[in-house]
Symmetry: C2
Subunit: 201 residues, 2 copies
DNA sequence: TGAGTATTTGAATTCACGTTCAACTAGTTC
DNA sequence: GAACTAGTTGAACGTGAATTCAAATACTCA
């Protein structure tokens, strides 16, 4: 028998297991048995904690998203220079490679968000928060005179996040030429014209 | 009994039916019975033409993609002015609204491309062709002296397609603020700095 | 027209999955 | 340490989907 755990601990495990199962089988392809296998439990045990699989899937997506976002914020807090902040943030929004689990998970939402309102809301809220993140970097840099913005910071921030998203898809789809480094450079080239700064940290 | 059709005609029908089924249920959620229902046939009939459902799904994705791309090319051929070409192309890469079937279909590929090599190749090839399309517009405009490019045309084109992709996701996810018009304006703002042209047709 | 062929159906079969639940086990409490 | 509680298992059951195939139907062309 699998190690017995408290309700809360097991739920955390299951959310992690669901995350892995979604990445492996797709958000519309995950089955109860997949989650059970990832967690090292039987289907019955999963059902004991989550009588409705779809709720577990939503929680898994939610948790993955929060982790991704919080991680970026935390990293951002370690520096003050707007130039370094911007460069670092661009980098942290891209997958480390085609297998990056955080981005793989987020990518699963893309299609589902068009069919499922909950997923649509989740994805939209992540996008908006990331935009705010970039916007505050841009505004700060402009206020300090380091950046000379080529347009309103909201539009620039929206485009920066959009580029991140799109290159995330390209990288996980294994584009033969566009990897993490190339994508970062492409986004940076936009960021340079947007800020009027060379962005060499 | 459903109207009897020739092998080729029926296969075309089935590809269309599969397209609709994918949009409705997700690429990993489609079932044989969904396709049969969309086509007005029984599962057996579908299986008679496509013994393997996954092959039909790939064909449906492939067909949808080709149609999307050809449509853009055809539209592009109707004008010569680089400025109008660019503006029109940006517009034609965005969904008409959250329900746009062509973009909804493409979006289904995003997640699957990370798991399934065939889908990854399909999606990558579409991306690359769209990049070429933009690149040729940019190069022509530059040669005519209409555009003063802010960087190499390949990078600019890659970013333009990336922005289209990303806003396609935002729109189908029903972002409350970013609709087709707003997305077009955001991409245009990038295109303006990229080309040094006001892009007013 | 009639024989032959291609397409479609519907029923039978098999399989895989979700769901339920009694029994078991390992902690927890008194 | 006995009674209780919470977590887990495994087997049984029901459902629905894929698959198979003989029979029915519509088309082709000699």
């Amino acid at each position: 028998m699998a190690q017995r755990k408290s309700r809360t601990d097991r739920r955390i495990d299951l959310i992690e297991a669901a995350r892995r199962a979604i990445i492996r089988h797709g958000i519309d392809g995950v089955q109860l048995s997949h989650v059970a296998e990832e967690a090292g439990l039987t289907s019955g045990a999963v059902l004991y904690h989550y009588p409705d699989l779809s709720e577990l899937l939503v929680e898994a997506q939610h948790a993955g998203m929060e982790r991704f976002y919080e991680q970026r914020l935390r990293q951002l807090a370690t520096v003050t220079d707007p130039v370094r902040k911007l460069v670092m943030t661009i980098r942290s929004g891209l997958p480390t490679g085609p297998l990056d689990p955080d981005v793989r998970l987020l990518n699963e939402l893309g299609g589902a968000a068009g069919r499922n309102r909950v997923y649509g809301v989740l994805l939209t809220s992540l996008y908006d928060r990331q935009v705010s993140m970039y916007q505050s970097i841009l505004d700060t840099g402009a206020a300090l005179g380091v950046f000379r913005l080529s347009g309103d910071s909201l539009s620039l921030a929206r485009n920066l996040v959009a580029l991140e998203d799109a290159y995330g898809y390209r990288i996980t789809a294994r584009h033969p030429v566009i990897g993490p480094d190339e994508a970062a450079e492409l986004i940076l080239s936009y960021a340079r014209t947007a800020t009027g700064n060379d962005l060499v940290a």
